[in-house]
């Protein structure tokens, strides 16, 4: 009897650990900036290089920062939803056009619509690195003090929006 006790105990300890491991998605990395100020940036505006978009623009309101590029399939997939979101006027959507080229990005926005309050142009990807971006699209929720509250990786849609963002935004605006 006793000789089965130890292996049995080991199995009982291991099972929950393994179940946890199965349930978590290893490609979904947590952002290092949750609860911290959004990383500083100051980028030329995509639509008008003579103006800039910076962290200062994020203060004083709850906002989104969307990391996107024309080469990114997921960005195309979420674009329709971002347009709906922009039209409903719930929250300003700032953006970082990451590792892209300007003509392609401008064409993309003129064909599919521009949901962004302002999009910074980060052609060489330096700001992307500062933000800990590891793949577009990524969407950061920023509070009115300019702190990162949440990061979502992957294409957004209405269901995910209602599930992940609505409750957090409600909490911030209360």
């Amino acid at each position: 009897m006793n000789r089965y006790l130890l292996p049995l105990l080991a199995v009982i300890v291991m099972i929950p650990i393994m179940v946890l491991g199965l349930g978590s998605d290893p490609s979904n990395l947590p952002s290092q900036y949750i609860g911290k100020p959004a990383p500083d940036f100051n980028l030329p505006m995509l639509t008008d290089p003579s103006r800039t978009v910076s962290t200062a623009d994020l203060k004083g309101q709850v906002s989104l920062v969307n990391i996107w590029a024309t080469w990114c399939v997921g960005c195309r997939a979420e674009h329709g939803f971002l347009m709906d979101l922009a039209n409903s006027d719930i929250i300003p959507i700032y953006a970082i056009n990451w590792r892209d080229n300007r003509p392609d990005a401008l064409k993309f926005l003129s064909q599919l619509g521009n949901p962004y309050t302002a999009s910074g142009f980060d052609g060489d990807g330096r700001v992307g690195i500062d933000w800990g971006v590891y793949g577009a699209p990524e969407t950061f929720l920023i509070n009115s003090e300019g702190m990162v509250v949440y990061r979502f990786t992957g294409p957004l849609n209405r269901m995910l929006w209602e599930q992940e963002f609505i409750p957090r935004i409600a909490e911030l605006t209360n």
Binding site: L6, L29, P30, Q32, R99, R126, I129, D130, G135
Partner: protein, 143 residues
């Protein structure tokens, strides 16, 4: 036959010839060696089981460029590791640093060896008290 063989060679050895960063990053051989060692220990965050030395992903190229820039500015390996960890977490380093959060990674192997040793010692001690007959009953090799 010779043609087939050379085709096969092409198929099997082609990938090992592809250089991601062709050319030297630094003229100084010491810096170059340090650079190569460093990029071999940084994980490519999009292609998670590759280091940034072997990866052709955008982000890996960007991280190599940032590391070259920081080395050019005279930053130490620790400072460069700090830069990466601030942005991507301990996950970005293949050789995690010794911190409270990574402690479990470093001590688990020793704990496993320790408890494994205890288990083996107990089994061995138990068997030493048995006679030969009992051991073969337990599934040991029959004489």
């Amino acid at each position: 036959m010779k043609r087939l063989l050379s085709m096969l060679m092409l198929v099997f050895f082609a990938t090992s010839v592809i250089a991601i960063d062709s050319g030297q990053a630094f003229d100084d051989p010491d810096l170059q060696a340090r650079y190569e060692k460093l990029i071999a220990e940084v994980r490519c965050v999009t292609c998670q089981n590759q280091n940034i030395k072997d990866s052709s992903a955008f982000i890996a190229a960007d991280l190599r460029r940032e590391i070259r820039r920081m080395m050019g500015e005279g930053l130490s390996n620790d400072q460069i590791a700090d830069f990466l960890v601030t942005r991507y977490g301990d996950f970005a380093l293949y050789r995690p640093r010794y911190t409270g959060k990574t402690l479990i990674l470093w001590i688990t192997p020793f704990l496993l060896v320790f408890f494994g040793g205890i288990v083996i010692a107990r089994i061995v001690r138990h068997r030493m008290t048995l006679s030969i007959d009992e051991v073969s009953d337990e599934g040991g090799p029959a004489q």
